[in-house]
Amino acid sequence: MSKIEIKNLTVDYTEKKNRFTALRDVSFSIEEGEFVSIIGSSGCGKSTLLSILEGINFPTSGEILIDGEPIKGTGTDRGVVFQHYSLFPWMTARKNVAFGVKQVNKTASKAERLQIADEFLEKVGLENFKNKYPSQLSGGMQQRVAIARALAMDTDILLMDEPFGAIDAKNRTILQELLLELWEGDGTSPRKTVVFVTHDIDEAILLSDKIVMMTAHPGQVYKEIEVPFDRPRNRAQLVQTKEYNKFRNRLLAMFYSDIVNKIGGEEQSKNVTSELCISCLSRCCSFSFCRIN
């Protein structure tokens, strides 16, 4: 049995009498201890999918099973890191982590919770910032705290919604490597199941065991791709290999072909949404150009 099974998930939105299909008939599964990235251009419903996994959004039809049980709402088996505002601004870094621990571990005393918080803040390199409020921390530091909280809660599953999307390139690289290191661990404890939403192909390749590529309007699974690189991974070594570049180009090609197909189809049928799609294409192109350069 897979850890997470997504079965025929469809989500419709009604907004100002217009009906949108955010996700149509999405199905795939995630094994225990697997790191899966969901990648796609904006509007492909990847964040919607994650919000259903988080338990704060519900599908129109279909279901998600965790350990064979359908999701009924939020749960203590899942830890979440958002792109923004995961932290409570009125709590210090350490209180934020301890608060998360408290929600899953009701028996721990306050001192024990703070000790766990300190331990995980040290893992993300913030032991000297533990008494700072989020407003006193940079965006990258805030995400470190959010990761520390999710890890300290010690949930089976980790859900991450573009956690490094708003971080500058240099810090993003550092955080990706930190996450990779923390997740791969030293092999003594089982790895957590991670669902990681991103629009960055390099990030997805570096971190994942499997990449689920999605297409937009409506959101559907385009391809599931296994990432063939051994662990533990090292970015500097990995990016120099031929295999890496070949694999990356293949993914990029898929990414384009999907978008080009979409635009062609939309124009033929003179669909109103074609305008939407062109704006989405220009975004994707600018994004991929900067990747190629």
């Binding site: 988080e54 338990g55 704060i56 939020t74 749960g75 203590t76 899942r78 979440v80 958002f82 923004h84 505002y85 995961s86 932290l87 409570f88 601004p89 009125w90 709590m91 608060f99 998360g100 929600q103 899953v104 409020y133 989020p134 407003s135 809660m153 859900l159």
Partner: protein, 296 residues
């Protein structure tokens, strides 16, 4: 500043033109007290900007006292019964201190009781009402309507309804504080960032934790806006109410003595009220700053 201090002392040495006792010694003692306070403060305050501000305020007080002394005791330019010399006011202040303390306690007691009751009730009710969008919306309009009525107009009705003057005062201060705090709390609760709520939801917090550990602190800045408004109105109300029908309190002290033409004591009352309000506001700001220290 120290120059003004010396000038103030020298001014006291000029011959009095006023025939009644001017108690110049009290001004000297007051000025010496302020000087000592200044020395203590300059040792405690580290920020040069804060120190300059303090020195400027002290200079202003000295300047005012010099002008006041000259206009009254020394040159007798103003009508002595309406404008007593400063020494006389200080003398009266010290002579009346027991009465003044009793009146301060009476006024502050009423304010605290009405204000704290109202704030606590309004915050709890606001949290509960604000959690439901529909209830929150309707309650916001009701709070705006009822809050728009100047609370002072409740006084006659309160007197008819309630047995003692004290209970009327508490009731009116309660109303004056309750509506703005309720409106502030609901606006805070209803505008909590959805991302913050989602973060709490994915942490699986229970309803109680959600309300008191997430929604309450997130709405605190807005709650304080309501509390500030309530506090300002409470002072105005209480002193006005005390001037209408009380037998104690600072408003009563002023009204009572001005009725007898004792304007020295009227001035004493004005100064004391000013000091009491500044002290309470200062304490309130400290609390607010501490509770909102996570902002910025």
């Amino acid at each position: 500043m120290h120059f003004l201090f010396i000038a103030l002392l020298l001014v006291q040495l000029l011959p009095d033109k006023l025939t009644t006792e001017t108690y110049a010694g009290y001004v000297v003692w007051f000025a010496v007290g302020v000087e000592i306070l200044t020395l203590i403060v300059s040792a405690l305050i580290k920020k040069p900007l804060g120190l300059t501000l303090f020195a400027d305020i002290v200079s202003f007080i000295y300047g005012l006292l010099i002008a006041w002394t000259l206009a009254t005791a020394k040159f007798n330019l103003l009508k002595p019964s309406l404008f007593p010399p400063p020494g006389r006011v200080f003398w009266q202040l010290i002579g009346d201190y027991e009465k003044i303390i009793t009146n301060i306690l009476s006024s502050v007691g009423i304010i605290l009781q009405g204000y704290l009751l109202a704030a606590a009730a309004a915050i709890i009710l606001g949290l509960l009402l604000g959690s439901s969008e529909r209830l929150g919306n309707v309650a916001t309009y009701i709070a705006k309507f009822l809050g728009a009525i100047p609370p002072i107009v409740y006084i006659p009705y309160g007197i008819a309804l309630l047995p003692t003057f004290r209970s009327v005062s508490v009731f009116v201060i309660f109303l004056a504080t309750f509506w703005p705090v309720l409106a502030g709390t609901m606006s805070g609760v209803m505008n909590v960032d959805k991302k913050t709520l989602d973060s709490a939801r994915v942490l699986n917090v229970n309803r109680f934790t959600m309300l008191f550990s997430v929604i309450l602190p997130a709405s605190l800045p807005q709650i304080f806006i309501g509390c500030n408004q309530g506090l300002t109105v409470s002072f105005v109300l209480l002193t006005s109410a005390e001037m209408i029908g009380a037998q104690s309190g600072l408003g009563f002290y002023i009204k009572n003595y001005s009725d007898f033409g004792d304007y020295t004591r009227t001035l004493v009352g004005l100064i004391v009220i000013g000091i009491v309000i500044v002290v309470i506001s200062f304490g309130f700001n400290k609390i607010q700053k501490y509770l909102l220290r996570w902002k910025h």
